[in-house]
């Protein structure tokens, strides 16, 4: 190919060829194999570069997140398999004794620790949202309604607040919690997933409440999957681990 061919490829892709030039170009693509092949490679390379450099930030964020999840997964997996391989085989009677102990413990603890439910976790700390600003009155209504567990009123007030600032993650979080209380699960889960996928300070809180939403919906498997993604430095990590133990 000559320089003018590549310039023409670019003009065609850019849409700057005239109608007649476009017709001639497309005709050449149909009749000249080498030309068509070079153009296809040129186009593929343009798409490749456009995706690689145009989405560099998103791609880097994906790789970093993937690497975190992968490292955590393999670390845990390795720990479990090492634990398994270091255990020596022991006689059957030991299993029998262990089983008896488990049964006795089970009977003993059944009344106190029967399967966990959402209501074990929905004792929210009072929220304090008011700051000097434009939405003082509405914020007070939202705060008061939430703290007095009037979630219908809280949901309404948060919806009005969010209209004034859709990106306020705190308002979105409390709005979602109110929705869980009102059994508006789909909406709650959508909001929480969005916060959880972001990078705000409420990210881990959102994951925790998403897990609680699934717990309330009795979707135990998804709840477990979500709990496993709460990182060790999260405020709710210990609670999440306890809940995981109870669910497993």
């Amino acid at each position: 190919m000559e320089e003018k061919d590549y310039i023409q490829f670019e003009d065609y892709l850019f849409g700057t060829l005239s109608k007649t030039e476009t017709e001639v170009f497309e005709n050449k693509l149909k009749t000249n194999n080498a030309f068509a092949e070079a153009f296809q490679t040129y186009k593929n390379l343009s798409n490749y570069l456009s995706d690689k450099y145009g989405n560099e930030t998103e791609s880097a964020a994906f790789r970093a997140n993937l690497s975190d999840i992968s490292n955590k997964y393999f670390k845990e997996k390795l720990a479990i398999s090492e634990e398994k391989s270091s255990k020596k085989p022991f006689e059957f009677y030991k299993y029998v004794i262990a089983a008896c102990v488990v049964v006795m413990l089970g009977v003993f603890t059944f009344n106190q620790f029967s399967s966990p439910s959402y209501s074990d976790f929905n004792n929210f700390d009072p929220v304090s949202l008011t700051v000097r600003g434009e939405n003082d009155a509405l914020l007070k209504i939202a705060e008061k309604a939430f703290n007095s567990r009037d979630f219908a009123a809280a949901e309404k007030a948060f919806a009005q607040l969010i209209e004034t600032d859709q990106n306020n993650e705190a308002w979105n979080l409390y709005n979602a919690i109110s929705k869980i209380e009102l059994n508006h699960y789909d909406e709650a889960d959508d909001i929480l997933t969005e916060i959880a996928n972001g990078n705000s300070a409420y990210k881990n809180k959102a994951i925790w409440y998403l897990a609680l939403s699934k717990l309330k919906q009795e979707d135990t498997l998804t709840c477990i999957d979500i709990l496993k993604t709460i990182p060790e430095d999260a405020d709710d990590y210990e609670r999440a681990q306890k809940l995981l133990d109870q669910l497993d």
Partner: protein, 193 residues
């Protein structure tokens, strides 16, 4: 491709593309153990399995991002075939032994086989494009990076202190150069066939 029915497991592709941690975690929990077992049973270890799996997921992500990958088969079969192919390629490179990729034994239908093949060719082409891009001179590399990062050619011209017309001409000639490097490489001709 377009008239084929999209499989419900497309949710895994979409989740990867959206960098959704729950979906990525679910892929590891549900589909990764089988791949680790396979690699361990075929002369590999846990670290190698981790690399193969991560590379495969990045390739799927890239294909979804660049080409709008649509899944027409279960994710399980597709992902397993891809990882397996990647692992056999690693073995091929590291040992002198002849490794045959006998896919019929473990495939779960032609659709998965076809799609996995398509993705792995896509991945190999991407690797070749990256390799050839590195072979170019700095002037071309900088201009192309700026062009595709900034999107507006006016901004690119301004940032490189050249005229708009020259920037556009240079862009087409640099991609042209890259096109030649790719087309001349023996690997490209293997991938075409």
């Amino acid at each position: 491709m377009s008239d084929k029915k999209i499989h419900e497991d497309q949710k895994y592709i979409d989740g990867l593309l959206k960098n959704n941690s729950f979906i990525i975690q679910a892929i590891y929990d549900k589909f990764v153990p089988k791949v680790i077992n396979y690699i361990k049973q075929n002369s590999g270890n846990s670290d190698q399995a981790q690399d193969v799996i991560q590379d495969t997921l990045v390739t799927i992500y890239n294909q979804a991002s660049e080409k709008g990958l649509q899944l027409t088969c279960p994710f399980d079969a597709y992902f397993f075939l891809l990882c397996k192919r990647k692992w056999l390629n690693v073995l091929k490179k590291t040992s002198n032994k002849e490794v045959t990729i006998n896919e019929e034994v473990l495939s779960k239908g032609d659709e998965a086989l076809e799609l996995a093949f398509e993705t792995s060719v896509f991945g190999e082409k991407q690797a070749l494009f990256a390799e050839m891009f590195e072979k170019m001179g700095d002037a071309c590399k900088d201009l192309l990076k700026a062009t595709f990062k900034m999107k507006s050619m006016e901004d690119v011209a301004k940032s490189l202190n050249i005229t708009y017309a020259y920037a556009r001409k240079k862009k087409s000639l640099c991609i042209g150069k890259l096109t030649e490097l790719v087309r001349e490489s023996p690997k490209f001709n293997q991938l075409k066939n």
